[in-house]
């Protein structure tokens, strides 16, 4: 019981990180119908940007932890947003109106480019950092097994929920969000209403990349170790989360992220840590076969 509770806590924390990345996949899919395979690598870049900012701030002698974290988050999100914008501008926009596979191939190329860029510029070895937020609270101690809820986990859940609340408000309540939803539902019609659809698409990439950077920041703090390759596995898991939740659905992406996080953690706890990635990817296969529209996805209905 205590053991399961601990896994639940760990699973939710991990699920939050996947959910944030999954939102980026689902947004881009919603608006231009492509899977941005470079998204996982933007997450990785966000993680490295966080590392650089943390070390830089420490070198500057900023010792207040909340201030350092807030500045790091802002820096990573802003620069990663620039990466997101550039990726779209360089690799996808020139291919718009081309055959469907072209941007997908370009995305894989972009993914490899980002990985190699970071490998060359930052080195291939893993980068560890010390725990930034140590400690936690002990929820219960039964039979010699203590259930821990670390401050770090609380911070991850609080930051994610806050960001998602702001994001939800942006999409559902503001004119900007309305424009984004219009483009997602019918790009051609949105242009007929005078909307600069290219600009809205760019913005979608910018927001998705910023969210991925937040996830990268939390990944760095949570695990304390990153390398240039983390974007691949985390990216594919977040993509699985987006498919499981129903690609194109924003709440679905978060829900899918939570489920994948929980499945992965419980699988590791009760079966085998070595095969945890297999568990997550089996879910992808099962979802694609039996639930191709996902949990909250919708089958398109056309009215004539």
């Amino acid at each position: 019981m205590a053991y399961a509770l601990q896994q639940l806590i760990n699973g939710v924390t991990l699920g939050m990180i996947y959910g944030l990345i999954a939102v980026g996949y689902t947004m881009v899919y919603g608006i231009i119908g492509m899977i941005n395979f470079a998204h996982g690598d933007v997450f990785m870049v966000g993680s490295f940007l966080s590392l650089i900012a943390l070390l830089g701030l420490a070198a500057l002698g900023i010792t207040s932890v909340p201030l350092a974290l807030a500045l790091t988050l802002l820096f990573a999100a802003a620069i990663a947003a620039l990466y997101g914008w550039t990726v779209e501008r360089v690799a996808y926009r020139p291919l718009r109106g081309s055959f469907r596979l072209a941007p997908l191939i370009s995305a894989i190329g972009m993914s490899i480019t980002l990985q190699n860029f970071v490998q060359v510029s930052q080195g291939a070895r893993v980068k560890p950092i010390d725990a930034v937020i140590p400690g936690g609270i002990q929820l219960m101690d039964r039979g010699g097994f203590a259930v821990q809820l670390s401050w770090m986990q609380i911070a991850i859940v609080v930051i994610t929920l806050t960001i998602l609340a702001i994001f939800t408000w942006l999409v559902t309540r503001t004119p900007l969000g309305r424009t984004m939803r219009a483009c997602e539902q019918d790009l051609k019609m949105a242009a007929l209403l005078g909307i600069d659809t290219d600009r809205t698409i760019s913005l979608t990439f910018v927001i998705g990349a910023a969210l991925a950077a937040v996830a990268g920041f939390m990944f760095l703090l949570y695990y304390g170790v990153i390398d240039f390759y983390i974007g691949f596995i985390a990216g594919i898991k977040a993509f699985t989360a987006a498919v499981l939740g129903g690609i194109g659905s924003l709440p679905g992406a978060v829900l899918g992220g939570l489920l994948i996080g929980l499945i992965e953690v419980f699988w590791s706890a009760y079966f085998s840590v070595e095969y945890k990635d297999v568990a997550a990817f089996s879910i992808l296969v099962i979802a694609l076969i039996f639930l191709p529209t996902g949990i909250l996805g919708r089958a398109e209905v056309e009215k004539v």
């Binding site: 539902q185 242009a191 005078g194």
Partner: protein, 239 residues
């Protein structure tokens, strides 16, 4: 006076297929002009080509003295044109209110309430449905919403693509009545594409007949209605 919209020698392609073969057409300020033709004649392509999607391959499109042939769609639509396109293209997962607000994107944020009121006066049904999702409306209501959304941008030129398609005769009469009313009271210029030739020619000041991507006949609505070849091709058995 120069025309509000003038097309000369416009051609357009979908892939390798030529959809428009040298179209010459003018719409003057304050007119209702209709374009009739059979399925696949290129009517909707012509409407979309005016809006820059697809772009004209050759020829010239001039709106209000400005050559807009190679402009991107969203910039053309910011010049006071609005289109209620083929298939209505309502945002299904948005409320009626949000759909109308989307129409006002180019009108800026001023006097949205007044614009909404104007649309509701024309189509009171939309006011009753204001919080309903676009996808749940009936066909006729969706058409009203498509026209209402187009009007929210305060257009000087309204492009209507088959507003009568699939609607009951009573609803068609209501929508055509609304178009005539708008034209009479506000001087709105309308380019109307229709398969329902009889109704369209009676409503319009002038008309063009489009066959296989070329204009084969032009004249006033009454003139065209009297032509035997029009009667044979578009009116017999129909109307």
């Amino acid at each position: 006076m120069s025309a509000l919209l003038a097309l000369s020698g416009v051609t357009a392609f979908y892939g390798a297929i030529q959809a428009l073969r040298g179209i010459d057409l003018t719409v003057d300020q304050g007119e209702i002009v209709t374009l009739i033709g059979a399925n696949g004649a290129g009517k909707s392509t012509l409407m979309m080509t005016i809006c820059g999607n697809p772009r004209a391959r050759s020829g010239k499109i001039v709106h209000d003295g400005q050559d807009i042939t190679n402009w991107p769609t969203h910039q053309i639509m910011r010049r006071g044109l609005a289109q209620a396109p083929e298939g209505r293209r309502i945002f299904n997962r948005m409320s009626v209110h949000e759909n109308l607000l989307m129409g006002a994107e180019v009108a800026g944020r001023s006097d949205i309430a007044g614009l909404l009121e104007q649309v509701f006066t024309l189509f009171p049904r939309l006011k009753e449905r204001i919080n309903q999702r676009g996808g749940t409306l009936s066909g006729g209501e969706q058409q009203m919403l498509a026209i209402g959304r187009a009007l929210m941008s305060r257009p000087r030129l309204l492009l209507l693509d088959e507003p009568s398609l699939g609607l009951a005769p009573l609803v068609v009469r209501q929508i055509f009545g609304a178009i005539r009313e708008l034209n009479r009271t506000t001087g709105l210029t309308v380019l109307l594409v229709e398969q329902n030739a009889y109704q369209a020619l009676r409503l319009a000041h002038r008309g063009y007949v489009l066959v296989n991507g070329s204009i084969t006949m032009a004249g006033t609505g009454a003139e065209l209605l009297a032509r035997p070849e029009i009667r044979a091709a578009y009116l017999e058995g129909g109307a």
